[in-house]
Structure formats: structure tokens, C-alpha cells
Amino acid sequence: MEKYGLYTPRVAPQKEYFAAGHRACVGCGEMLAVRLVCKALGKETIVINSTGCIEIVSSLFPDTSWEVPWMHTLFENSAAVASGVESAIKVMQRKGKYADGKVNVVAMGGDGATLDIGMQALSGAMERGHDFVYVCYDNEAYMNTGIQRSSATPYGAMTTTSPPGKKSIGQQTWKKDMPAIAVAHNIPYVATASPAYPFDLMEKVKKAAATKGPAYLQIFSPCPTGWRSAGEISVKLARLAVETGAFPLYEVENGKYNLTMDFEKLRPITDYMKPQGRYRHLTESDIVLIEKKLHEQVQELRDKSSR
């Protein structure tokens, strides 16, 4: 019986470390992800947060949603600050000025703060091997400032700086494969997760926190405002993204790939695209092209995980 985890919402930690009363949009998938991550991490946690939606909605003076120590940094340096915090704790514990025991140092950022602006600091922190967790909440554009494209925006998506028209299909480049970049740093743990699979997400966060050395998590975060979708289907969209192959869930432990959610047959990508206004302009042939590319990516992951 020990082999099997018990997965029911009732036995999940009941204590909220990310309190209600934050000002996120109605139906925000990112705040759901933050809530689940904080639940999984528990009390012994220090959060370092880049600028972005999470910081804006959770820390309007004089209110805060955080019940763990929390620090706001600039867009680019959350990983650098996290490595400093981790080193300071290590030194102070050695000198006996800080209580012994494990403290989870967690840096959080959106996809813009991770994939674009903060990447060199993150790369440096991963290369130096600090014992911290980096959590990237991937909502596929700069949603906080008004839906500008980022390098996480998928091909064909409409944003305010990649508008579709006669000469443009919307976003003209493919999504940057950040987990693969993290894997290339030879760090012990890299994973992707989705709030539609809350126990999978919480297991991965716990695993990442228990890992000695840097860990990178990319969490899919549906954004009803930026994706032009209804608020009530946020979780459904997150599930469809996994089922259609738009955001495959996998983990990489010491370079060994493992697909955590694999489906015999992927659902057609239109199921995922249809409820979203950002894909409304796509033609039949564009969708076929996108589906082919996504299936290739999933197949590549399957090949890697079976190796």
C-alpha cells in the first residue's frame, strides 16, 4: 500500500499560504497555480517574485496575500536574488545565526520574466548550482502590461503586438522550449505541470523542493483576459492543452525524460483553440500545420522518455 499515494482533494493540505482577497481577474488560472504551489511548499518557504501579474494582484499596499516571507524583485533578477538568499541562509546556518533545517527558496516569475528578461540570471543561478526552485507561470504573453507577445507565445496566437491581418498570421515564431534549455544546464530536476492536474502539480513541486540543487518548473496558467476565453473554462482549457499536446506534461530527472501524462491518441487541436479568441483568425491549413508540429513535439518527448 505504501507504493500508492492517496489523491483526493480532502487530504490535500488545508492551510492556504496564498490568501483569498487577491485582485486577480475572474477565473485566473495563474492564481490557482500559485495557490497549489504554496499549498505544496508549506510554511518553511521564502518566495522571491519577479514583477508580473502575481506581484501586482497579491501585494496592493497595505494588503498582502502572502502568508510566507515574500520579496518582490525586478523582472530580470529574481533568480539572482534567490541564489543570494539561499547562500545567505547557508552561511548563517554555518555560523549558528539561523535556525537549522531546510528552507525552500522559491523564485517565481511569469513567462516574460523567465523566458525573455530574466533568462540570463536564471541561467547563471542554475549553472552555479544553488539549491532553489524556479517556478515559471506560463500564460503565453505579457498579460500584466496588456497582452504583448513574449517568446512563450505559440505560433498563430493573436496578441496586441502580433496582430493578425492580411500579411500576418499573428505570432510568427514557435514557442521557445524553455524546459529543454533548463535541461541543457544539467540540473537535477525539470518539470512541466498544469493546474488542471492539481495532484500531479503538487507532487512535482514537492519533488522539486526536495531536490538538492536547482529545479525548474514550468506551470501552464490559463489567462481568460489575454486568451479571450471565458473565465469558467480556465481549468478545462488547461486540461485540453495537455490532452491536445499543446502543453505536454513531463519531468526530467538527471537528464532522464519521463512523460507523466501520455495519451494513446491526442485530441484534435481545434477542441483547445475554438474557445479562445486569440486563435479565431486561423484558417484550416494553419491549424493543420500547428497540429502537425505539436504532434511532432509530443512524439519527440515520447522517444526521449522511452530511451
Binding site: 482533494p9 490568501a19 482577497g21 487577491h22 477565473g27 497549489l36 492539481p198 473565465g231 469558467e232
Partner: protein, 91 residues
């Protein structure tokens, strides 16, 4: 209006989780209503709530928090047994 003399040095917030006192329930246009005869107490509404505004009653049924619920309707979409329905706030 607060002046600089009233706020703590460095504008530090000294109460953790003080956002709980802010009423986000005013944003709601639809409210969730439970049909307890269909509810199987699975707790999916609890785990999927982005605003952490679904808790538990003593008898094991979910209890929503009127003060914080923004009425997004994720609970109603995700409920397997369709025990949660959204009704207009005006009704």
C-alpha cells in the same frame, strides 16, 4: 488619506495575509448554488477554486465564502455531478 508618518518604515506590510479583509465578493455577477442531493463531497470545487473561497462545513459538504468568491464559475464547470449551478446575483 495616509501620510508618510502613518505607514511603517519601508512600507512593510506587517500582517501576513491581510488581503483577506478586502471584499472581492463585490465583483461577482453570478453566485454558485449547491444541490446537496447531487453532491458527492469529492472536493474538486475546493481544489480548483482560484480564490481559495470554498471550504468545508461540519457535515462534510463544501461551503463557499461569499466575501471572497468572484463568481468565476470554475467550480460549476468542473463539478462531475453537476451539483453546482450558477444563478444571477440579482435573483
Amino acid at each position: 488619506m495616509l501620510s508618510w508618518k502613518d505607514i511603517p518604515m519601508g512600507a512593510i506590510v506587517q500582517t501576513p495575509g491581510s488581503a483577506k479583509e478586502y471584499r472581492t465578493g463585490d465583483w461577482r455577477s453570478q453566485r454558485p448554488v449547491w444541490d446537496l442531493s447531487k453532491c458527492i463531497k469529492c472536493g474538486l470545487c475546493y481544489i480548483y477554486c482560484p480564490d481559495a473561497s470554498i471550504g468545508w462545513k461540519d457535515d462534510g459538504y463544501p461551503q463557499w465564502d461569499e466575501f471572497h468568491c468572484k463568481g468565476c464559475g470554475i467550480c460549476a464547470t468542473e463539478c462531475w455531478t453537476k451539483a453546482i449551478n450558477l444563478v444571477e446575483e440579482t435573483e
